[in-house]
């Protein structure tokens, strides 16, 4: 188990002892007609206040399922959490009652989804939906809630908030809708925000606007942010530390600067080598061979071994533990030393 801490003078002893959120050995499985799909297989990570953790992975790596387990919005059944703990400010949320969790959800931990159009209710005005947060959680009157909604829309820089508060989601552009999602997540000033691919559906110029806004609000309110994404570019721009996931496991964790310079896991290395760069004209791209594994039949040993250029016999039999590479880094590879050296 490795806990990454952001080094910095602002950190007090209290935050060091108990991170804002800590996930320990989390397992999630889904019972399907074809068998048990093991989506998450022992994930550990932690986030402190004011810190941005990027969870990087491809589709099916378990990054979104972990987030849903933290939020408590997994469909159970078919989902099941056979093992694991999720501590929020030192308390295990998986042991809480539904009532207690509801108090945390929205007020303490909020989530931003990828597709704002399907996350917003199309038949209610955005003002009503924003105001709902205050009516339900703080018992404000309709009028006060609407005033608060306008204030929020101003805060995420939606032009002419007063006039637009009665508009419906389809009347906004994609970027504006994502701002409304951010406003909704920020409404109750949570301690932690989980953003699941918040800019994937947006154009690059709008993506830059939205990521800037998110980073600014995070700084202002000293929130923890878990950014779930597959985009290595976005990660490099905003994250403090990274957790790379593959087949439901974390294969590497590191501070952002180090991982791009020298990855310590062949999967991370493969990912970094396989993206075309804006500032370089390459020849042939490096391609990781093969396909991501079927979660019903995860390969024995290291799940990445069938695609790994360094795989040896031990990789097919023994699951590599997440071993410490340095004080702040860890890699789940039998040959992390060789990988690190290139």
């Amino acid at each position: 188990m490795t806990t990454l801490e952001k080094a910095g003078p602002e950190q007090t002893d209290a935050t060091r002892t108990a991170p804002l959120l800590e996930v320990r050995d989390l397992h999630v499985e889904f019972h399907t007609r074809d068998g048990v799909a093991k989506a998450v297989n022992g994930v550990n990570y932690s986030v402190n206040a004011g810190e941005t953790l990027a969870v990087l992975g491809e589709s099916g790596s378990g990054k979104s399922v972990t987030a849903q387990a933290i939020m408590g919005i997994l469909d159970m059944p078919p989902g099941r959490i056979p093992k694991g703990e999720i501590f929020f400010r030192g308390q295990d949320m998986l042991k809480m009652s539904g009532e207690e969790r509801r108090k945390i959800r929205g007020q303490k931990i909020a989530m931003i989804f990828q597709d704002a159009l399907s996350a917003l209710n199309p038949v209610l005005s955005v003002g009503y939906q924003l105001g709902e947060m205050f009516r339900v959680h703080q018992g404000l009157s309709k009028k006060d809630a609407k005033a608060k909604a306008i204030e929020l829309m101003d805060r995420v820089r939606i032009p002419a908030a007063k006039e637009r508060v009665g508009d419906y989601p389809h009347q906004f552009s994609g970027g504006m809708r994502q701002r409304i999602m951010i406003a909704m997540a920020m409404a109750l000033e949570p301690d932690l925000i989980i953003a699941d691919e918040p800019t994937t559906a947006l154009d690059v110029t709008v993506q830059a606007q939205v990521m800037d806004l998110l980073a600014e609000l995070q700084r202002e309110m000293n929130m923890g942010l878990i950014l779930i994404t597959h985009d290595l570019g976005v990660v490099a721009d905003v994250a403090d530390k990274i957790a790379v996931m593959y087949a439901g496991r974390i294969v590497e964790t590191a501070p952002v600067h180090e991982i791009y310079k020298a990855p310590a896991h062949p999967y991370t290395k493969g990912l970094l080598d396989s993206i075309p760069r804006l500032d370089q004209k390459g020849q042939e791209l490096y391609a990781i061979k093969g396909l991501p594994p079927n979660l019903l039949r995860i390969p024995s040993g290291c799940a990445f071994n069938p695609r790994c250029p360094m795989a040896k016999e031990v990789c097919r039999t023994d699951v590599p533990p997440l071993a410490a590479v340095s004080d702040t880094r860890a890699s789940a590879c039998h040959f992390w030393k060789e990988t690190l050296d290139g």
Binding site: E58, Q207, V234, D237, L278, D279, Q280, K289
Partner: protein, 342 residues
């Protein structure tokens, strides 16, 4: 310069906006493509980039004559495709094929892979006589890196990357000269994206194909393209070879677009200059007068509202032996390196 295989001249597509149910009255038009001209040379890849709604996909459809142009010409070897119909159109389409974005919806789920890839032969039986088709399909599967024994499988038995290979095999079936790719890899995971991009590069060399590569991901476009055109609101705003566009852009929109792309290198986040555009893309039903980008441009002056800038080599760079001397539709074109190329 190489021989132009496709010449596009002043291509216009307006979608009428109508009012009334029984008596339809035209009240305006969405100017999706509004006067676009470019050439596609034999054996090259022309990348087209732009944000959603800029008209890049409509251009693709116009080139295939899937959508009738309002005015303008598409000359394939000197013959205007937009005027063709029936047998003559069918003959031209044999040489221009398309690969679509979404490998999940562009393959018929009820047809086997063999039927999907073999379908073009039904329409153009002269390419492969009946008895020969099965072998041809298996050859095609082999060419795109799929097991020829998969010929009787259905699309749902394949992953996203494999399905895109099937789409490419179908595009190749008739030995076309031009393949129009509309966001061919944007639905794929990073590690699979590289495989498909490499495959497309290899096929281009092998079959001497010309690609028109439409995408919103500027890094991928740079990787694969010889020349790049940038579109904004139905107009081509800048076009040139990859070095001219990426390292010496002269149009402010291109500069903003490039600076907004997140670079997968955390070291660059401190020293990279970012141009964050304000606002959203205006509606193509009611585009701004003069230069269409002026509402979001930081250089806009009175002249920009009255005079439409033409796509030409800017006066100040004319005759200069500099990479900045390429076509750019801006009154105040000037060079700016935003990528910080190594």
């Amino acid at each position: 310069m190489a021989e132009a295989i496709l010449e596009v001249r002043d291509l216009v597509k307006h979608f009428p906006l109508t009012q009334g149910i029984i008596v339809k009255k035209q009240i305006g038009a969405v100017k999706a493509v509004d006067g676009v001209s470019f050439d596609l040379y034999r054996g090259e890849t022309l990348g087209i980039v732009g944000e959603s709604g800029c008209g890049k996909s409509t251009v693709a459809k116009l080139l295939m004559n899937l959508e009738r142009a309002t005015s303008g010409q598409v000359l394939y070897k000197g013959e205007d495709i937009t005027k063709l119909s029936g047998r003559a159109l069918k003959a031209v389409r044999r040489n221009i094929q398309m690969v679509f974005q979404d490998p999940y919806t562009s393959l018929n789920p009820r047809m086997t892979v063999g039927d999907i890839i073999g379908e073009p032969f039904e329409i153009h039986p002269e390419v492969a006589p009946k008895g020969d088709r099965r072998r041809k399909v298996q050859d095609l599967l082999d060419v795109v890196g799929l097991n020829p024994e998969y010929i009787n499988r259905y699309p749902h038995q394949f992953s996203g990357g494999q399905r895109q290979r099937i789409g490419i095999a179908r595009g190749l079936a008739l030995n076309p000269e031009i393949i129009i790719c509309d966001e061919p890899v944007s639905a794929l995971d990073v590690s699979v994206q590289a495989q498909v991009i490499n495959l497309m590069g290899r096929l281009q060399k092998e079959f001497d194909l010309s690609y028109m590569f439409i995408a919103h991901d500027l890094s991928i476009v740079r990787h694969i393209s010889d020349r790049v055109g940038v579109m904004y609101l139905g107009k081509m705003v800048e076009i040139g070879d990859d070095e001219q566009i990426y390292e010496h852009p002269t149009h402010p929109y291109t500069q903003a677009l490039l600076s907004a792309v997140p670079v997968p290198d955390p070291e660059s986040r401190e020293h990279r200059e970012r141009i964050i555009l304000s606002g959203d893309v205006p509606s193509p039903a009611n585009p701004p007068s003069g230069c269409r980008f002026r509402t979001r441009c930081w250089k806009a002056q009175d002249k920009c509202a009255t005079e439409v800038p033409l796509l030409a080599v800017p006066e100040r760079f004319k005759g200069a032996d500099s990479p900045a001397a390429h076509e750019s539709a801006c009154h105040f074109a000037e060079e700016k390196d935003v990528v910080g190329a190594a």
